[in-house]
């Protein structure tokens, strides 16, 4: 049975890459050229320039920068606050991603079936993504209100005593994670929906003929065939969570006692509050290094495990 059910996956593996065709290089250049021109001018150049800035001291108002060597990096690694901020960011990221991905896949999968009012439901789940963070923060502050908040009322039904969500350094991070999941899972739900739609019915039909059950179909067809989408969502969620900023800014401003201060908030503060663009750039490059390593690991894992190349 399992062997037969693997057919779809095998088929995917067998195919591998398109056989090499003459002129691929030239065509690739042609296909890439519009993107490359814009990309190198408006994306790559600023990124490289900020790397240069990470070795400089620059207050942004001035037209001159001063070379300071590795000073910015040394200062960062010696700063207690930086390590605290890094830790907070990691907690946020690893707290959000599993919830976010699990929840969004679940909803996307559920809405891929026969459901009444599918369009409405999708829109409802996507709405938090669209709402401006300022407006969202107003209501979340109220939801988290220690006296009248709906969340404390709700957990009270289960006999849990009220939590001072935003004022307690431990609870504040949870509060942030919950709001973070709420604000972004709709985004991943859309991506998963698109991925699910992309799986040809034929594979399921074949499996059904082979007598595969619901779960077998989910694990043996959906999950492997969804893996490029999942990989994409993984990488983007990692980047997104490590760079979380908006909701921190509006909900907690990094407090209380620095418990929700995350990396990009720290970058922002140094760039636009203390006017230390050099230092902010250096922190950004450490963030870059961390994300790049994680992405490479994910890529390796995906290649070896799922695509089986």
């Amino acid at each position: 049975m399992p062997g037969k059910n693997n057919k779809a996956g095998d088929k995917l593996k067998k195919k591998g890459r398109t056989p090499y065709k003459k002129g691929d290089g030239m065509s690739a250049l042609l296909f890439l050229s519009p993107t490359l021109v814009v990309f190198s001018t408006f994306i790559l150049f600023p990124v490289i320039f900020s790397f240069y800035l990470s070795f400089q001291k620059w207050n942004m108002f001035s037209s001159e920068t001063t070379f300071v060597g590795l000073d910015n990096y040394i200062r960062m690694f010696q700063s207690e606050e930086f390590w605290q901020v890094l830790k907070n960011t990691a907690i946020y990221t690893f707290g959000t991603i599993p919830l976010n991905m699990g929840f969004s896949l679940m909803v996307a999968y559920a809405l891929n079936k026969k459901v009444i009012g599918k369009k409405f439901l999708r829109t409802a789940f996507f709405a938090p993504v669209i709402i401006s963070p300022v407006a969202a923060a107003v209501i979340w502050r109220w939801l988290y209100d220690p006296n009248f908040g709906l969340i404390n009322w709700f957990i009270g039904l289960f006999g849990i005593s009220p939590i001072n969500w935003l004022n307690d350094p431990t609870a504040a991070m949870f509060a942030l994670i919950i709001m973070g999941v709420w604000k972004t899972f709709g985004y991943n739900m859309v991506l998963f929906s698109a991925g699910l739609q992309g799986i040809p019915e034929t594979y399921y039909e074949a499996a059904l003929i082979d007598g595969a059950g619901k779960w077998t179909r989910f694990w043996k067809i959906t999950i492997p065939l969804l893996s490029p989408t999942t990989f994409f969502i993984m990488v983007m969620s990692m980047i997104g969570s490590f760079q979380v900023f908006d909701i921190v800014y509006v909900l907690t401003s990094g407090g209380p006692l620095g418990s929700t201060k995350v990396l990009v908030f720290y970058v922002y503060e140094h760039a636009f509050k203390f006017f230390e663009m050099g230092y902010a750039s250096a922190v950004s490059y450490v963030l870059f290094a961390i994300l790049f390593i994680f992405t490479m690991l994910q890529m390796k894992y995906m290649k070896s495990k799922v695509l089986g190349n």
Binding site: D24, A28, L32, T35, L121, I130, P228, A271
Partner: protein, 281 residues
């Protein structure tokens, strides 16, 4: 027969429970949005109530009128929509081409180039903003829509998204087309694109939303009043000390509508499943 009937009952009640659960979830996620709409219809007196009340006593539609009178929002909407649509259509084209190259063509340095694309997304916006701005300044594009549209015509995110999606499309169809002598462009246009509607719709939604909701970039590249976008216009309801909640909420609700419309329209492409009729063993 009774067994079958029971089975059916179980199935139906399962369905009912499923619907109840998913609608409850939807209501919870939608609650802040509903609250926003209700607040936009409240009088200031009703906004200043603690603990807050959901329903306004009287629906004040004049909040919307007042918000629109506070600034030329009609003009702002036109600006925002022009910019967002241009970026969206532009990105659909450039990203599909680039993604096709990454997903299907073999060329030297494709991996390295792809990693560079990915890498640029890992640097926070705060530190690349000023150099990007300087680039536009050197080009002389400050205070024009070019400054908002052209940099949006390439996207590492969009390229990555479509590449991942193109990779899931089985290759038999293309191979047949190549044998028939089709060019790479026509394979992209006739085979890949039609099969990728859900992904393209996703990209369209995200790009439109990103462009429409952009604040800080529009702020720094635009100076003229007549070129302002909706998000810049909404900022006029807040200053250092005060927020005009009634007008801000009314404005925010209307600012969400274009995106919801795009979402509704694009959803069509999620619902029609993909049937690969040409794909038989």
């Amino acid at each position: 027969m009774p067994g079958k009937g029971l089975k059916r009952t179980v199935k139906i009640s399962k369905g009912i429970v499923f619907h109840l659960v998913i609608y409850a979830l939807a209501l919870v996620t939608l609650a802040p949005f509903i609250w926003m709409v209700l607040t936009s219809l409240k009088d200031m007196n009703e906004i200043y109530v603690y603990p807050p009340k959901w329903l306004p006593e009287k629906f004040r539609f004049e909040n919307y009128k007042n918000a629109f009178e506070a600034a030329p929002f009609g003009r702002y909407y036109i600006n925002s929509i022009i910019v967002s649509l241009s970026v969206t259509f532009g990105q659909l084209i450039t990203c599909s081409m680039a993604a096709f190259a990454f997903a299907r063509l073999r060329f030297r340095g494709s991996n390295i180039l792809f990693y560079i694309f990915l890498g640029t997304m890992m640097i926070p916006y705060n530190v690349t903003m000023i150099p990007s701005f300087m680039m536009l300044y050197w080009l002389g594009w400050i205070d024009s829509f070019k400054a908002l549209i052209v940099p949006g015509l390439a996207s590492a995110f969009g390229t990555f998204l479509l590449r991942q999606f193109f990779m899931t499309i089985p290759k038999e169809l293309e191979e047949a087309a190549y044998i028939d002598g089709a060019s790479r462009f026509s394979v992209l246009w006739r085979i890949i694109i039609p099969l990728s509607k859900p992904a393209l719709a996703t990209l369209a939604i995200f790009t439109f939303m990103g462009a429409f909701n952009d604040f800080i970039w529009s702020l720094i590249v635009l100076n003229s009043d007549e070129m302002r976008t909706v998000q810049l216009g909404l900022a006029i309801f807040r200053d250092r000390y005060l927020t005009q909640w009634d007008l801000l909420m009314a404005g925010s609700v209307t600012a969400v509508l274009p995106i919801l419309l795009v979402f509704f329209f694009a959803q069509k492409y999620f619902i029609q499943g993909i049937t690969l009729s040409g794909l038989k063993e």
